[in-house]
Symmetry: C2
Subunit: 772 residues, 2 copies
């Protein structure tokens, strides 16, 4: 697919209709508000290829596991965020002939995602097979202000005919997942109701009894004047609709406002759902579309105020980063610790919508810096609440005494993934969960969290590592056998440097935290010790022993950390040795060939270096980057951004920019021809990292914020705000100068290019760059 979207700093625009782009556009134009989200399916029916998707955060289904060869320890199910009630649907008929763009000639089709106000608009002329022509204008939003609400404005003009227009807005719970292991439907009907201009429906999942209640109220206008006409209720299993039949003449228009309220049993008791829906929708109709939209717009304005990145001089880059920030904000708002960030957000079924290490390793810094502290804290609490399940998960794999292994993929804390080399062996995920705690504390200084929640998780993680290592007599070292590192193009390897390194670091950080909590929160510490039966002396002794004696492979005589044992037995090549028509290798090579090759899917050694940049000399970082990056095929969307941050770190701005471009417009330009499956939500955070931690080189040094900004030659300037320990700091980077604004009522101490400055409350620092 070639680029078909227009470049615009605040909008994504599709001009002209091409059915081949349908599913891709359904992903790109997705809307969401953290509680619910949807693909940009048409309101009216569409018989062409389309992936229907309406999702609710936390509403999932335990789809029975499908494997070729069962292995002990595989989970019984894969928890999936599932396609739910279709609440956008508005069928349209002209004298019984359906409006279906797959069967029409379509003119002046335009679809617009307005990221500033969070709306999706669409307009077109369509000539039906009968020759009748209509003009349609539609606009919708999912409210950021009241997260239960959504509203659709849909207007049809009869261009060239006189006849009957039938409009059928509906709620349809009789939907399927494309991804269903055994081709089952997941929903049952609970109740439905309808009345004049309104209907509501409650469905529940066939297992686990998650309830979703959806209601709609309809307001009709003819030629922009309110009309009152009787609707005919249409009911089927799991379906309610209201049919309106209206005579129209040339150039007459009909406008429908569909107000929608959706609630789930996560927040509303099913027995109250109809009542809640009724009350919300009465208010919504009273408030009206325009006012609701205005409130929604204001909610978005607040989000943009905190999280926008402005890039001058490069509209593509500007559109790219805004699209990423927009989607991240649509996916997760951080006010509910039961929720998390699925790899595709609310934009597709792939990866099941579960929580991966993506959250801690890639998304966490974005929310940490662009939202109030409680948002990042809720992401940590999500894991804290699932600690018992992580301990249970480890127990299933043979670990004991409170050792925790967090799942590779989860919704409620139980493992969903079912490939032994990932599920059982990609254990480094435990490391990222410890790292996020460290990252949070470093950034926020929220020591209370560390004492009351963080330490308990850290001890459980350290207990895991302590059992997972074994002592190699031949090496005289502790080793970690049989793992898959972040580079999933290696399976069941021994002594993956990244895994061993982050295991050691976790033990160190845990010991350090124990010391701190013991001193500062002695009672909290004592209570915790009892709760988890912590054998401090014995356990800490063993951890220290492991810390001192864990094996960390290197390439002798160099600065290079060895990805894993045996890596050098491979034929070492760079990516340019792969014929062009064999890329991506994961679509061309059999798995064994990928495994035998030296080629790297995503940062592995370099992921460790990225996490702990301050622990390595510039030379070490350079040498490892220069060794590994040329072998990296970047076939995970999570890969280029981390490499871009490191390239910035070693001041290779061209390389950093090249890698940045592969992230920031990945979906808009559909590099991998897979955007139709959904957007790469979690890797979108990588684009933000590549700017904030990459180009701007934001760090925390000695407990203070530090910037060391680069600028891409292609850009005139870029600027963004971040939140740091309760203060809002704005960084503006231009070719000639750097400006830092302290948007808070306290003075701010920070490092810029290594020099410590103090910026007064609401003050500004101007720094003129020296010509080199």
């Amino acid at each position: 697919m070639k680029k078909y979207l227009q470049v615009h700093p605040w909008k994504v625009i599709e001009d002209g209709f091409d059915a081949n782009n349908m599913e891709a556009s359904e992903s790109i134009f997705s809307l969401g508000n953290g509680k619910m989200g949807q693909r940009a399916n048409f309101e009216e029916q569409y018989s062409g290829h389309s992936l229907q998707g309406n999702y609710f955060a936390g509403i999932f289904y335990p789809d029975k596991t499908r494997v070729g060869w069962w292995k002990i320890g595989y989970p019984e199910y894969f928890g999936k965020m599932i396609n739910s009630v279709n609440w956008v649907g508005i069928d349209v008929f002209l004298d019984d002939e359906p409006l279906d763009l797959a069967k029409c000639k379509v003119f002046q089709f335009r679809r617009e995602l307005d990221m500033k106000e969070g709306t999706l608009s669409r307009s077109f002329y369509a000539e039906l097979p009968s020759g009748k022509m209509v003009q349609v204008q539609a606009k919708r939003f999912i409210s950021m202000d009241n997260t239960r609400l959504a509203a659709i404005h849909y207007s049809i003009t009869a261009v060239n005919f006189k006849g009957t227009l039938t409009i059928l807005p509906y709620l349809d719970g009789d939907v399927k997942n494309r991804d269903s292991n055994y081709n089952e439907k997941f929903w049952d009907e609970v109740a439905k109701t309808s009345g004049d201009n309104q209907a509501a429906l409650i469905v529940k999942t066939k297992k686990l009894d998650y309830h979703v209640g959806s209601g709609m109220r309809i307001v009709l206008l003819k030629n922009n004047q309110p009309i009152s006409i009787a609707s005919e209720p249409i009911e089927r299993a799991k379906y309610v609709g209201q049919r309106y039949t209206i005579a129209v003449e040339n150039n007459q228009s009909l406008t429908i406002y569909k107000y929608i309220c959706n609630v789930t049993s996560l927040d509303v008791d099913p027995s109250h759902m109809f009542q809640v829906i009724d009350s919300e929708l009465k208010n919504a109709v009273k408030t009206g579309f325009d006012k609701l939209l205005e409130m929604h717009r204001q909610a978005w304005q607040i989000k943009w105020e905190k999280s926008d990145i402005v890039i001058e001089g490069d509209d593509e880059a500007q559109q790219g980063i805004r699209f990423n920030i927009f989607q991240l904000n649509q996916t997760y708002t951080g006010d509910d610790e039961r929720l998390n960030i699925g790899p595709k957000g609310f934009t597709g079924e792939k990866y099941g919508g579960g929580t991966y290490w993506d959250t801690e390793a890639f998304c966490f810094p974005f929310y940490l810096c662009t939202a109030n502290q409680n948002v990042a804290r809720n992401l940590l609490l999500y894991r804290y609440r699932q600690l018992d399940k992580a301990i249970e998960n480890a127990r299933k794999l043979g670990f004991t005494d409170g050792a925790a292994l967090y799942p590779m993929v989860t919704v409620n804390g139980e493992e969903c993934h079912n490939e032994w080399e990932i599920t059982f062996e990609e254990i480094h995920r435990n490391g990222a969960i410890a790292y996020a705690i460290y990252n949070y504390i470093k950034h926020t200084d929220d020591k209370e969290y560390l004492a009351h929640y963080g330490l308990e998780v850290l001890i459980a993680l350290s207990r895991f590592w302590s059992q997972r290592v074994n002592f190699s007599k031949v090496k005289g070292k502790y080793v970690i056998l049989g793992v898959t590192g972040p580079n999933e193009y290696e399976n069941n390897v021994n002594n993956n440097w990244y895994t061993n390194f982050i295991a050691r670091w976790t033990l160190e950080y845990t010991l350090e935290t124990i010391d701190f909590v013991k001193k500062q929160y002695p009672q909290v510490y004592q209570k915790l010790s009892q709760k988890i039966d912590f054998q401090e002396t014995k356990e800490c002794e063993r951890w220290k022993n492991i810390i001192e004696n864990i094996y960390l492979p290197t390439i002798e005589g160099t600065n290079i950390f060895l990805q894993q044992e045996g890596f050098l037995d491979k034929e070492i090549q760079t990516v340019d040795a792969i014929p062009r028509n064999q890329r991506p290798i994961n679509q061309h090579w059999s798995w064994d060939r990928i495994l035998r090759s030296c080629f790297i899917k995503q940062a592995d050694v370099l992921q460790g270096i990225y996490f702990f940049l301050d622990k390595f000399s510039m030379k070490q970082v350079e040498d490892n980057f220069n060794y590994y990056e040329p072998m990296t095929v970047h076939e995970s969307s999570l890969s280029p951004s981390i490499h871009s941050v490191i390239a910035s770190h070693i001041s290779r701005v061209d390389k950093a920019y090249e890698l940045y471009l592969r992230t920031s417009r990945l979906d808009l330009d559909d590099y991998n021809h897979e955007v139709k499956e959904g957007l790469h939500i979690t890797s979108m955070a990588g684009s933000w990292l590549a700017i904030v931690e990459g180009f701007a080189r934001k760090r925390v040094v000695n407990g203070k914020l530090s910037f060391d900004p680069l600028i891409v030659p292609q850009w005139k300037s870029y600027n963004f705000k971040i939140q740091y320990r309760g203060q809002i700091v704005e960084l503006q980077v231009k070719n000639e100068e750097v400006i830092i604004i302290n948007h808070s009522s306290k003075p701010l101490e920070l490092y810029l290019y290594g020099t410590l400055y103090t910026i007064a409350e609401n003050g500004t620092l101007h720094y003129k760059k020296q010509k080199v």
Copy 2:
């Protein structure tokens, strides 16, 4: 399940009915004749747990692959030998009440497998819920004489009632596999026909159009007198039956002879099937049950003459080895090079009935020694015919220029297996295929085969190894990365000693064979060279280079070959460190834990030592056995026998016997509680190996047969015959003496305890053992 079968030298006897044993007995009492086979399902209906199984050699279905996560290179389907027409069925009703042992009180139930004559008999009294009681006597066989035929004698006596007896013999093609990836049925009806006392049915597989035609003819007796009564044809989709309704009184009996003919499209064109069936069945009825049985018995007598092993002084051992030999002969008769030996033969669905390396590594010597030469030759030709597919298979994995990788599991040469660590990486299977050629030539001296067929396969295999190695700069050696050895409790390891060793040996043997064929069959060689575009100089040079420089890991300072690189980093333990309640580990441990442990599923280094015992010193064999055997959990049924042979080799007769016992009665005593899934046919060959290559230490030395027999203290004597280069040799081993009889009209030179003897035509050698 505890032992419930009686010990008898020639029979397997179940005395008393226990529904809990049903599926196990269905496996144990299976019948077959190489072309077809079946589980011992009851003739009358049975509503309890039962695994229905009727199979035809070579009739399979490409069941759509089911995996959790697709990987490039996975086959689209798993070819399965499938449950086919049920041709044993005879429904019985007493005044409309069905005879169904699951619902009856059963008395004096006895089931008997007579291995000498190859028959299955059953007799019982059953009291139906109504209180009516019948006595039943049934006997059946699947003819070894005419492999299309089977016959059932089924006799019912009304013990305590007067009424109507309804008998409904049928053919039912509307059957399912328990193992169906997507719960589909695999058969369609083609045609059916019925007439007086007869019916026939043709069905075909939904894909690939394999046809099976089944016909039956019925002869009825009342009180042992022929009666002629009208039958009522019963027809349904894929089903034909004939119903007989007969008045009976106390103590009257009804006997039904059901003659069955089955043909498949492998041998009979579907358009002629009814005709062939009709003609076969006319003859069968004319010949009669007793005469057919006699011919069948004679065919078995010839088989036993060649392959029996007699053990005196140990009835359990006698029954065990005979059961194994009986089943091996039922499974494969060697007259059709398109057929092979499935791991469960005709006794169950597990493993899909495909061909594994089991054939070459375990079964081949049995058929090589106990049948005419063409039987083993056909096993080799099976692979030869599939060479093109093996080359295609390798091509899919990225290999070129005529390199062949035989599938892990196959029916027609295409790969069926779908686990990357096995499918793509358990490449040592190629080695066993080369070894079988070597073994065959060594035993038969059939050099013609080597020139005309063997060499072509060997070159293709060597081409594979030549591409599969890569040169490790750090080692300065060729390495083989990313394999799974015979010990499948290790995956994706580097430099598995067994794999590297057999790769090197294959290259050596290929070079040796090239030299031989070039000299002895220059024209054959030239033609082959052209056919396969053999670049002799270049290719052989590379092979020599690899032979000289391939890495073979060892434990430094010892005789021990290292199973794979990194093995010593593990915690080295012996099996007794595993708590009893965690055995077998594959039913208790998660896969990663198994992989990390040192525990070995089946012979790996020792498999290589077994194949090439003559290449290693006694000390080397001992040291490796003593190192690896104690770590071996023997969780493959193929494991104990190979270890037993090696234990005999190093004269550890107690250990050899202990291991032998775990093989020979594996199914009869149902060690692993899984016999209900089917019998371990391929590992049955291991029991034979443990005696012939183990206790008797049969070898070929300098082109001559050699024995170095041990005797188990528990046995009085054992003896067997083997075929060697056209001669039949009988070995009798007693405590005090060894007797060798030359059953041929040529003198025989052989080694006994290292001394070369010549035994005259039809002569006997008596050797008195020296007291030590």
